[in-house]
């Protein structure tokens, strides 16, 4: 399955969480709480990781039970086995699978290549929780073998080992860099305001105003003025 779509990359990571309990709380629940406590919008650590289009974190408790396999094939499996004893019939049914541990799932869509993005996660992921500054290790802390992750290279290796090959792309983004997209959004909104204010004026007036407008919005300057990553209100 392709994890690249043009310049966009889809990253899906499943990291097993240790089966264990600290002070009556499981590692999975500690990790879940840390995920739920992450600040959102501008304060989200993901807003600081360069080029993140959209990302989410959640705990996968178990596989989802869909139902027994369908019985619309040529013959009905359970009907055939019903000539045997009930326990034989039940033994013949497919086993219901469960996960051996709970998983931390991280799913992200971003611009560019994986290595560069993972460096960004290691270096830029930062936020305050209960007055303490936290980095990316705080979320992954209780995942199996994460204690060996002590530098950026080992973090990259770890994430790649947990990577799950799935083309989960967010359908609300192009494959341009985040800065490019945010600037485009900003320009579109500012331009529609400009049009509303200046419609009906003479061509000369509009041209003058447009020059001033361009000076203000600086279309070539991707840094500013623009929307900030994660910004939720004007």
């Amino acid at each position: 399955m392709a994890t690249k779509s043009g310049n966009a990359t889809a990253l899906t990571v499943l990291s097993p969480i240790k089966n264990g309990i600290v002070n009556g709380v499981s590692y999975a629940d500690i990790t879940r709480e840390r995920c739920l406590r992450l600040p959102i919008h501008e304060r989200s650590p993901l807003a600081r990781v360069p080029n993140t289009y959209l990302a989410r974190l959640f705990i996968l408790d178990d596989v989802f039970y869909e139902s027994l396999p369908g019985s619309d094939s040529v013959f009905n499996f359970s009907e055939i086995t019903s000539i045997f004893s009930d326990s034989a019939r039940r033994d013949a049914l497919p086993r219901i699978d469960h996960l051996k541990s709970k998983y931390l799932v991280f799913s992200s869509n971003f611009y560019g290549d994986l290595d560069e993005y993972l460096v960004g996660m290691w270096e830029k992921w930062a936020y305050y929780d209960k007055g303490q500054q936290r980095d990316v290790r705080h979320i992954w802390e209780h995942c199996v073998a994460f204690e060996a992750v002590t530098d950026c290279n080992r973090f990259m290796d770890y994430i790649k080992r947990c990577q799950f090959d799935a083309a989960l792309f967010f359908n609300g983004s192009t494959d341009d860099s985040l800065q490019e997209q945010l600037k485009a959004l900003y320009l579109k909104q500012e331009f529609s305001k400009f049009v509303a204010v200046h419609q009906g004026k003479s061509a000369a007036e509009i041209q003058r105003a447009f020059k001033t407008f361009i000076e203000q919005v600086q279309p070539e300057n991707l840094d500013q003025p623009s929307w900030l990553p994660g910004q939720s209100t004007p």
Binding site: S192, V195, A196, Q199, G200
Partner: protein
Amino acid sequence: MVTWAVNALTLPSVEINSKKFCNQIYEGVIMAQNLDLTDIQGNIVKAYGSFGFLKARYLFLSIADGDRGRAFVGAMTTKVTSAERWDKKSSPLVTTNIGFTFSGLQALELPTASLIGFPEDFVMGMKKRKAILGDDGPSDPENWDKIWQETAHIWMSINGKSIEAIEERYQWIVEQIEASGGGVTLLTGHRGEKGEEDLPYQDASVLYDQDGKPSAKEHFGYTDGISDPVFEGQTNNQARVLGRGKLTSTGGWEPLATGEFILGHIDEAMEYPNTAPRPDLLSNNGTYMVYRKLHENVGSFNRFLDEQSESFPGSKEMLAAKFSGRWRDNGAPVVNAPDDASKTEWDKKYAAADPAAQRRMLTDFNYNDDISGAKCPLSAHTRRINPRGSLEFGVKDAFDTPGALVNRRRILRRGLPYGIVKDASKDDGNHGIIFMVINVDIKRQFEFVQQQWINFGNDFKQGNDRDVLLGNQSAQNPGRVVIQVEPGSGKPPHFVTNIPRLVETRGGDYFFIPSITALKMIAGGIIDPT
């Protein structure tokens, strides 16, 4: 059982022509949707206004005691108007219909096993759905008529051909309320014409023109209620389906599935609606109704239209038409009369047409030749609430059927204007529309339209632009819409800006409208969900 078996066995042997037999079944039974019109309340199937009922009175009641409440419902049931077909001679002078909020059904002591089958939107009621509906600022429930500070249990409507007929039925209901010995109370607190705050009923009436003739207009001057949906079993008249049913891939029209509007019938997904409580006898032939008192800020509308038309390249009436999708004077669809010159031509053709052709001119159209919105803007009110096939955006056969994104979002509109505008330069006073919606799934139909198509514009590629007339614009967040022009024409699109809140919610709730069978069972306390 034995008797039946013997009779069956002793039936004379007849040779059955299976093909003919099947055809008879298809033609006689399966294809035709025969509704139990005498079991369905009349307001579901009929827009009373078009039968000469020009006035209405709406009452809201509270139930204090289950036994006496049920006895009252029993008395009302004797006068409830069914959907039985009428001709001019057989139609009554006055109609009566009844519905219940979820609290009302609790007060009537429906079994818990039935109550838990009602959908969450209905259980919550309109006030608690305010974030979905955009009822904020002046539309916030705290600013509604005083009556809505109490809990309404029963809604009743009286539609009449004269105010005398309404008054007579009203007095009869009041007598029954008195006879309930406090079991049922008529709630007061409707705002009235003379500044009253505590009226015991809400009156509504068609508006009359300068010559005193009844009109189909509302207070902003638009002609209302032209293209109400048509569903299977409602009419045998194919002409009424044009532009009002669902669009087919060949450009024709078919009635919508009954189950979009009446419980117990197949809907557009070929399923029974999943909003029906148990048992079937409680829900079959019933439906849900949304009641909303919508105040119209006539002064703001007139000022806004005047201001905006100064910079608009066209007449003021043309701009008003672009807001709505129909011209104010006669309801001409803007898509077929997109500017002042073409409107003049349309009017000439309309004047020369016979009544059937006139009706077609008003309803039988689509947006296939106007994908860009150059004729009828993508944000126009009637295009928003009934996009017909336009959500395919010109990609023929993009979906199984051109109305795939529309057919599950249709609502029947009932109701009438209320109040009189005494000063067209002011907003205050008591005038607007009593807006009632019939649908089987409030969340999927009414609330979706209100949230996504009135207060948002993304489905029409209009970002977060809202409906000019009904959107919940505010001073902090004024509205904006674009009036498109023909691509490549060299003309700039026109931006309408600073749109104020033109319509405010003044009250309302969600009601269950049971069948007449269900009414009798509710009254008898014999609803059995087992």
